[in-house]
């Protein structure tokens, strides 16, 4: 396990594109939450946040160019966190 020398050089241009996308998403989420969506405001806002964080993870944090096991670890951590939140809500959602 020592031939991991390949360094992918990410061109500047890609970063700019990602930034533009992130900014667009930010404004879109501000826009959408200012509309009265009731229940769905939270969902919408979170959805945008998830997409944005996925962009940051894949490009800014180079996950796209990393080995599969690092991707796997990141996925695992988010999965565990999700499960923990869901399990906590098993309590709160069903309280009488």
């Amino acid at each position: 396990m020592s031939e991991d020398k390949h360094h992918h050089i990410v061109p500047y241009r890609l970063y700019v594109i990602v930034l533009v996308a992130l900014l667009a998403l930010t404004f879109a989420s501000i826009g959408i939450t200012s509309i009265e969506l009731g229940e769905f405001t939270v969902a919408a806002a979170l959805l945008f946040a998830v997409v944005k964080s996925a962009l940051v993870l894949t490009f800014f944090m180079h996950l796209k160019y990393d080995k599969p096991y690092i991707k796997l670890m990141v996925a695992l951590v988010f999965a565990i966190f999700l499960i923990v939140i869901v399990m906590t809500f098993l309590d709160y959602l069903y309280r009488v």
Binding site: M1, V84, M87, T88, L90, D91, L93, Y94, V96
Partner: protein, 537 residues
Amino acid sequence: MHTTNAVNGANYLTYQGKYKGLLGWILSTDHKRIGLLYLYSIAAMFTTGVLLGLAMKFELLAPGKTIMEAQTYNATFTVHGVIMIFMVVVPGLPAVFGNLMMPIMIGAKDVAFPKLNLLSWWLYVAGVFLVLSALLFGSGTPDTGWTFYAPYSFKSGTNLLPAIFGAFVLGFSSILTGLNFLVTIHRLRCPGMKWTKLPLFIWTLYGTAWIQLLATPVIGITLVLVALERVFGIGIFDPALGGDPVLYQHLFWIYSHPAVYIMILPAMGAISEIIPTFSQKHIFGYKAIIVSTMAIAFVGYLVWGHHMFTAGMSGTAQYYFSLLTFIVAIPSAIKVFNWISTMYKGSINIQTPFYWAVSFIFVFMVGGLSGLVLGALATDIYVHDTAFVVAHFHYIVFGGTGFAFFAAMHYWFPKIFGRMYDKAWANVGWLIFTIGFLALYSPMFYLGMMGMPRRYYDYLEEFHGGNILSTIGSWVLVTGFIIIVVNLIRSARKGEPAEMNPWHSKTLEWTVTSPPPVLNFEKEPVLGEKDGPYNYD
């Protein structure tokens, strides 16, 4: 640290690095020296915890006041719990034997980040002193129990902040150790050491490290919130300000349940090394044991609610948490079956570590099976927060992790110190210790079933009999403990020189001299196709 002076007669105990004397130890980045530092500091904390435990048992010898006031008693079990959990069994096997042995067992020179490793130890020491400072200064020793349940933990007038902060620092130390081990196991295995050739102890350290990494921050932030609550009254858990005390319990157990697997997994790993060695036989079901290790580490995240069956959770949550609790018991069962099967048709060499391993299996079964009583809804409602729970976790924490610790101690002792202990005394110590253990904790099962609540300074007359037996047991146990410790200390200094591989084991640490040289290997080991940690012939 790039010293190039020739090291004379150098093993890790005697070499002289950049610093002399004590400094050469407490500033050393050698994983083995750090392991020994942990051993000594944990042993010191452990002795403190034991003394507090004895004091509690003495108090419970008879109803009414025996030797201390109620406030003292409450502080005693709090400090006893905090010391034993956060300072002894959580760091216990990983920090001591993980540090001492793990890099050698995978054929590495050291851990991935030696300086960080030293920092972990320093943080451990800092955490210890912070917690202990709560005893000496301020408005009294913390009296909340090791669980720091809200809202009592904001109301108690005692000096809780240093203890909370100390626990936080200890957690940080634990995280860094876990991080270090994970990277080491990923990156520094010697050529040929495939994942499927890793010794099982390493696998359990790997699983443990993940739990340390992913669960500890949750308690960190929870303790921070409690501290902020005490200082600023922000109202996160305070019912008077709208907070929910049950949410505190969720957060606490989201860490503390996985933490019990931090305690037991490396213990299981050590047992998985000892049993094949002394049976001179390939471990039964190597892959099954790996799978069960990772299964425990993962499912361990999903069951924390079983500590809260009476706390006022929703029925749905109680249902699922109970169900999952039973699921997590199965991988443990698989391990027990595989250990026992390993003995089948072996050539068993009965030595001290093996005695400890066998008694480990027994007390672990008792502790684990009593966990099933606690995992079932109806029965837990009945015995929750009674002496039954106290019996359960002493059987499994102290019986499990503690016994495995002693097993590991007697197993790796010749490698660590290069000397052999007196086997006869070691066996006598083991026997007395085990008898005392059974006498100390078994009556608590009975007391719990009779309905005696835990954390009780005083009790009704009807519980007297069981408590007497239990207290006497504690004295027997300590006799055994003293014999063991005296024997080990004496032998570390004056014992017979030990062979390189006294137990004829197959793992890599037995291929280097005892004690191991500074950088572990003269030449980087390479594992061939046929080599493996359990390939006996």
